[in-house]
């Protein structure tokens, strides 16, 4: 089957404030299948946010091609269709809500698509229900917690019926409770609504549940595979300056001390099993 997202040798350069040309993306080739849950990790300046912005045509490649559901993002005529297909959730929950009432904000996207009012109403109610925010439909955004605001932002994207949701560090500004809420929502969307998820994060724990983890460094993909494959490469990750999930780190150190523990431990329960087997 045709992958829903295809990147072909994607490069992106921009001019810095001093006028130097800086390469943010340095030849990224990547296919993402429909229904996949992909986590992209990497530290600041690794190009992961720039990559995200290419997925709904906020940025266009300097060279190379991005296809979203077969649509080339350089094609101006397809711009709105692409943005509707690949919705985007940003880091700061405050700076992406437009309206003064939750349900009006969720309606913003469908209103822009020019849908009839009854259809918008229906979609707004559904979207709020999916993210579990229907009882806040009439609330003002500034009374909500960070996690709730982020769920409203997700509902705003859902109401546009996208096939892909790109989340650019949606949990970076949230407390642990909010982070959990948002992660549960994202997983639900992927599992039960069949939405393709591209989740950009720097919390390794959030990448553990993905189908595939992609590690970026200096505008390139340096490592990819299942979470188990990626996180067992503790040494490589450390060299780039990334962390691994705490449990994996523990396994790595125990192994270094000579204990017989597998390196691909990702969760606490697995760790408990491994230690009990010793």
């Amino acid at each position: 089957m045709e992958p829903i997202i295809r990147l072909q040798d994607l490069r992106f350069e921009y001019l810095s404030f001093e006028g130097e040309e800086i390469a943010a993306l340095n030849g990224v080739t990547l296919d993402i299948q429909k229904g996949e849950f992909v986590a992209i990790i990497g530290h600041n300046g690794s190009g992961k946010s720039t990559l995200a912005k290419h997925l709904n045509a906020l940025l266009r490649p300097s060279s190379g091609v991005v296809w979203i559901k077969g649509m080339d993002t350089r094609d101006e005529d397809k711009l709105w269709e692409i943005r509707q297909t690949a919705g985007m959730v940003f880091q700061n929950p405050d700076n992406q809500l437009v309206a003064t009432v939750v349900e009006e904000d969720v309606a913003f996207g469908p209103e822009n698509l020019g849908l009839p009012p009854e259809e918008i109403r229906k979609r707004v109610d559904e979207a709020l229900k999916v993210v579990g925010m229907q009882e806040y439909a009439q609330a003002a955004p500034h009374y909500l917690s960070g996690g709730q605001k982020q769920r409203v932002a997700i509902a705003g994207i859902l109401a546009m019926k996208p096939e892909i949701i790109v989340l650019d560090e949606p949990t970076a500004m949230l407390d642990p409770v909010g982070r959990h809420e948002v992660m549960e929502t994202i997983k639900y969307l992927n599992k039960h609504e069949g939405i393709t998820v591209v989740h950009i994060t720097h919390y390794m724990e959030e990448a553990v549940d993905a189908d595939r983890v992609i590690v970026m460094e200096q505008g390139k993909i340096v490592l990819q595979g299942t979470p188990r494959q990626v996180f067992s490469q503790v040494k490589v990750l450390k060299e780039i300056g990334l962390d691994v999930p705490q449990v994996t780190e523990l396994a790595y150190r125990l192994k270094a001390e000579g204990l017989d523990i597998p390196l691909d431990v990702l969760k606490v329960e697995e760790m408990v099993d491994a230690i009990c087997r010793l």
Binding site: N56, L58, Q84, M88, T100, N112, A140, P141, M160
Partner: protein
């Protein structure tokens, strides 16, 4: 707490006046303002007063809220009254104080001007007290929509108002945060003369502005990624509908207008 501020002076309620279509309410307020200046007799002002008193009673907004709007204007109202009383030329002199004549015409003119000002403030206060900022914006957008033919940016204007309303609490919270952060580092916002205080605001305003611009940039990107492309082809979830009570309000106002015109120009 700072996030509990109310924007404007909306007084939430479920009265008939609250439920009127905002478009109708705005239009009627304009009609009301105009008709105030057509009244020329005590009977006419009595009619207008009865009309607005009835509206206030229907709205269930406490009278002191309405009168609060008059307080800052008290000085202007008194001044207007005095100037009109003493400087209106007239023949029926009631009495004199030094060089000033106190005439019947002057007294009438003074009272009329005072009544006009008071009714003006009460009428417009009633609009803002009974209409939430959101529906006010909505009403303005739709009333101005016909002007888009001559390229008047009605949608853009309404969008700006909505975003402003959305971000006022956010920016207030942020101001509070920056202020505390600067105070923790020894900034002093409270002492000194006016000039020193204004200077002390610089370390508050600079970060606030920078952050506001960053927010604007991010918001624009988020809006674009949600397919925002201005007012064209845009539909709305909520459609304003005029109902029986709107027609009733219009009918009562038309009666008032007819009454004033009859009273001032025919009888």
């Amino acid at each position: 707490m700072i996030r509990d501020i109310t924007i404007g002076q909306f007084f939430p309620g479920q009265s008939i006046i609250h439920k009127l279509d905002p478009r109708v309410k705005i239009a009627l307020t304009f009609a009301f303002i105009v008709i105030i200046f057509f009244a020329k007799t005590y009977v006419g002002y009595g009619l207008i007063f009865a009309y607005i008193a009835f509206a206030v009673w229907l709205s269930q907004v406490p009278v002191r809220y309405i009168l609060r709007g008059l307080k800052p204007l008290l000085f202007i109202i008194v001044l207007t009254f005095l100037i009109n009383v003493f400087f209106t030329p007239g023949s029926k002199v009631l009495f004199r104080i030094w060089a000033f004549k106190f005439t019947q015409e002057g007294l009438n003119q003074g009272i009329f001007m005072t009544l006009r000002l008071v009714l003006l403030v009460v009428g417009t206060s009633l609009l803002t007290l009974t209409t939430s900022p959101i529906s006010l914006t909505d009403g303005i957008e739709r009333l101005l929509q016909p002007l888009q033919v001559i390229r008047f940016p009605a949608h853009e204007l309404a969008m700006m108002m909505t975003i402003a309303l959305r971000f006022i609490p956010t920016l207030l919270e942020e101001t509070d945060k920056i202020m505390k952060a600067q105070m923790a580092r020894g900034a002093d916002f409270e002492s000194g003369n006016l000039f020193q205080r204004a200077k002390a605001l610089v370390p508050l305003l600079v970060p606030l502005f920078i952050s506001a611009f960053r927010r604007a940039d991010e918001l624009a990107m988020a809006m674009e990624s949600r397919c925002y492309r201005g007012g064209q082809n845009r539909t709305r979830m909520k459609i304003l509908k005029t109902t029986r009570r709107d027609y009733l309000a219009v009918a009562v106002t038309l009666l008032l207008i007819a009454g004033i015109l009859l009273d001032s120009y025919v009888l």
